[in-house]
């Protein structure tokens, strides 16, 4: 997993899977990388091939964390069709801004 901070933009990429094995460290690392000036968080899911409920839970935890910070936007980028299906199945696509670039 790679975390890149460019001013107010925090980008998380190279996530190959988001499961019970790594969801806690994902959540902790991203939370730790948040600064007072962060206004946009982009989670690049283009390489994410597998996600389970723990992975979904970590995304939801991030959503709740950002919801407490006024004006912070959380975006999911380029999810694979399978991950998009999982987000739709759990109705989580209603919570996140999903962008395809």
């Amino acid at each position: 997993m790679k975390i890149d901070i460019q001013g107010p933009l925090l980008t998380v990429s190279e996530i190959h899977e988001l499961t019970a094995v790594n969801s806690a460290s994902f959540r902790d690392k991203v939370s730790a990388a948040l600064t007072g000036t962060t206004t946009t968080i982009e989670i690049n899911l283009s390489q994410t091939r597998f996600m389970d409920s723990s992975g979904l839970g970590s995304l939801f935890a991030l959503y709740r964390a950002t919801a407490k910070r006024e004006g912070v936007i959380l975006r999911l980028l380029n999810p694979m069709p399978e991950i998009q299906q999982l987000l739709e199945l759990t109705q989580m696509q209603q919570l996140f801004e999903i962008v395809k670039r």
């Binding site: 996600m51 069709p81 399978e82 739709e88 759990t90």
Partner: protein, 293 residues
């Protein structure tokens, strides 16, 4: 009168439909595709139906039996490959024999449903969904006494249990012994096959749910085919194996067949955390509670 029924063999566009068995045995509105055809041919006067099965002849035979349920004699004949209509005529139908149903019902390929020859079942997942939804009004035949039609465009198996707070939107089909939970929404354009559970506040729209499938609470199935733990978007043909059985899973086998007990705990799994314990307790409570009639 005689008739030939050719079972479709492999169709590369719909591999997930063929996983549990041959395509001719694929479940469609409470029965298998071949069974619908045998019933139709029997109603047209056929008394001896030869079923040509190039794929899984034993499974086809197990599904259709000997034909006694339709009052006909059914003979399943294994073949090396799926014959074309012309090949089947030359191999199995002798021109001198007059005792055949009139064309085109003398030789039929079970790649569509009776009465809808233009809607191919196995060209894509989208064609499967489209053909089934289009055939819904034709699926009730005199022999199908276990399906009722409480409202126009809504068909319900007589042993299905539907919560009073569930919402059924026409057209939709609820299979026999299926349970629809509190606040669930089914339809429009949805087919829930037999022995499914759609849990509370789940929604199934523009979708087909295969038999023995559990759709978990709050889960939203839309524009999809859901069968066991497999979810297929019929618009894009993309498929997903849903990793968490409380969202979507098969009811006919345990989610973790090798080591799990009935609540999905594996022998070597770490002890559940606080939130997981709460979820398991919640699932236990739900599994022990049947929706109100």
């Amino acid at each position: 009168m005689k008739a030939l029924l050719i079972c479709p063999s492999e169709r590369p566009a719909v591999p997930h439909l063929a996983k549990p068995g041959p395509l001719a045995t694929a479940p469609s509105l409470g029965d298998c595709v071949a069974c619908h055809w045998i019933e139709h041919l029997a109603a047209m006067g056929a008394r001896h139906i030869q079923v040509i099965a190039a794929d899984g002849a034993d499974q086809v035979r197990a599904s259709v039996g000997d034909g006694a349920r339709w009052g006909v004699r059914v003979e399943v004949i294994p073949a090396n490959s799926e014959p074309t209509r012309r090949e089947a005529v030359s191999l199995y139908r002798h021109a001198a024999d007059p005792g055949w149903l009139p064309a085109p019902y003398d030789v039929v390929v079970a790649s569509s449903l009776p009465g809808n020859p233009d809607l191919e079942l196995f060209e894509s997942y989208g064609s499967w969904y489209t053909a089934l939804v289009a055939w819904m009004p034709k699926a009730i035949t005199p022999s199908r006494i276990r399906v009722t039609k409480p409202q126009p465009g809504i068909w319900v198996g007589s042993r299905a249990r539907i919560s009073p707070s569930a919402e059924l939107v026409a057209p939709c089909w609820i299979g026999d012994q299926t349970v629809i939970g509190d606040g669930a929404v089914v339809g429009p354009g949805s087919i829930i096959e037999d022995r499914c559970i759609v849990e509370e506040k789940a929604s199934v729209t523009q979708s087909w749910v295969g038999p023995d499938t559990f759709v978990g609470p709050m889960t939203s199935v839309a524009y999809s085919l859901a069968w066991g733990g497999t979810l297929i978007d019929w618009r894009t043909d993309s498929s997903l194996r849903v990793p968490d059985p409380f969202l979507l899973s098969s009811l006919s086998k345990p989610p973790f067949p090798d080591t799990a007990d009935r609540f999905g705990r594996t022998q070597n799994a770490p002890a559940p955390t606080g939130s997981q314990s709460g979820l398991i307790m919640s699932l236990r409570a739900r599994m022990g509670r049947a929706p109100s009639q």
